[in-house]
C-alpha cells in the first residue's frame, strides 16, 4: 500500500510526510488559489518595500517641500516619461514600473489587510474578507493594466 503514495520517502525518517502524500495522491484538500495569492502577496511585498517609499517621496513630498519645481511631476513630465517611443525603452519601463508597483501593492495589501483583521477578530469571516479584498486587487490591477496600455497598445 505504501507504493500508492510513491514510497519515495521513508516515513521513519520523515514522520508525518506520508499523511501529506496520501492526501496529495487523492487530490483531497488541494489548495491552488491560496499559494498563488501568497506568491503575488510576496512579490507585491518585495516591490512595495523596494520601490514604494521613493515613489511616495517623489510624487507626494518633493514638490510641497520645495525640493523640486512643480514641473518635475507635471503633466508634461508624465507624458514624456510614459512615451512609448522614448529612447532605451524608457517609456515602456516607466509603464511597467507603474503596473508592478500598483498591482503589487494591491495584492500585498489585500493579503496583509485580510490577515491583520483576522488577527484582531480571531479569524471570524476570514474567507469572505479574503475573497473580497483579493477580488478588489484583481479588479484594481486590471484597471492599472488598462491605464498603462492606453497610448501604447490601446
Amino acid at each position: 500500500m505504501a507504493d500508492e503514495t510513491g514510497g519515495e520517502f521513508d516515513a521513519r525518517y520523515n514522520p508525518g510526510h506520508e499523511v501529506i502524500r496520501v492526501q496529495a495522491a487523492n487530490h483531497e484538500g488541494e489548495v491552488v488559489l491560496e499559494p498563488l495569492m501568497w506568491g503575488l502577496f510576496s512579490l507585491g511585498g518585495f516591490l512595495t518595500a523596494f520601490l514604494l517609499p521613493v515613489t511616495i517621496l517623489a510624487i507626494s513630498f518633493f514638490v510641497p517641500l520645495g525640493l523640486w519645481p512643480s514641473s518635475r511631476i507635471g503633466y508634461a513630465w508624465l507624458q514624456g516619461a510614459m512615451n512609448p517611443a522614448a529612447a532605451n525603452f524608457q517609456g515602456l519601463l516607466v509603464r511597467l514600473f507603474f503596473l508592478l508597483v500598483i498591482a503589487g501593492s494591491f495584492f500585498h495589501g489585500a493579503h496583509r489587510f485580510t490577515y491583520m483583521v483576522a488577527e484582531v477578530t480571531d479569524h471570524r469571516g476570514e474567507k469572505a474578507l479574503s475573497f473580497l479584498f483579493h477580488g478588489l486587487a484583481v479588479v484594481g490591477s486590471l484597471i492599472a493594466l488598462y491605464t498603462v496600455l492606453v497610448g501604447w497598445l490601446l
Binding site: 523596494f50 517609499p53 498591482a103 501593492s105 494591491f106 495589501g109 489587510f113 484594481g140
Partner: protein, 131 residues
C-alpha cells in the same frame, strides 16, 4: 485522574498591544495594507493623466492639500516601517533557513539597505529623470 484543560485558542481583543514586538508586527501589517492605499493614489494619478492636463493638475492639487499630505505622510511612515522591519526579518530568519551557517543579521540587513538605496536611485533616475 488529572483533568485535562483545553487550551484557550481565543485571544483577547487587543492582545497585540501588550508587547512591543507585537505592536511592531501589527505596524508592519498596517504598512503592507496602507501600501495598497498608495497604490490607489497612483492609480488615480494615471486615470487623471488619461483624462488630460486639466484633470491631472486638479488631481495633483488634491494630493497637495494639507489633509491629504498628512494622510500621505502617515502612509509613508508605515510603508517605511514595513520595508525596514522586513529587511531586518530577512537577516534574522537566516538562522531558520541555514542554522549552522547563518551570517550575522546586521550584515544581511546592511546589504538589504544598500539594495534598497540602489533601487530608490534607479526609480529616481529612470522614472523621475534624476535627482
Amino acid at each position: 485522574m488529572v483533568e485535562v484543560r483545553e487550551a484557550a485558542w481565543r485571544r483577547r481583543a487587543g492582545w497585540w498591544t501588550h508587547n512591543r514586538r507585537y505592536v511592531l508586527f501589527m505596524a508592519r501589517e498596517a504598512g503592507g495594507s496602507l501600501s495598497a492605499v498608495y497604490g490607489l493614489i497612483l492609480l488615480g494619478l494615471l486615470i487623471a493623466f488619461g483624462q488630460g492636463a486639466s484633470a491631472y493638475g486638479d488631481y495633483l492639487a488634491f494630493l497637495q492639500n494639507p489633509l491629504m499630505l498628512v494622510v500621505q505622510a502617515v502612509i509613508l511612515v508605515f510603508v517605511l516601517v514595513h520595508a525596514v522591519t522586513w529587511f531586518y526579518l530577512i537577516g534574522k530568519s537566516q538562522v531558520v533557513m541555514s542554522a549552522y551557517r547563518a551570517p550575522p543579521w546586521t550584515r544581511i540587513f546592511g546589504l538589504m539597505i544598500v539594495i534598497f538605496l540602489a533601487a530608490s536611485a534607479g526609480v529616481l533616475f529612470i522614472v523621475f529623470g534624476g535627482l
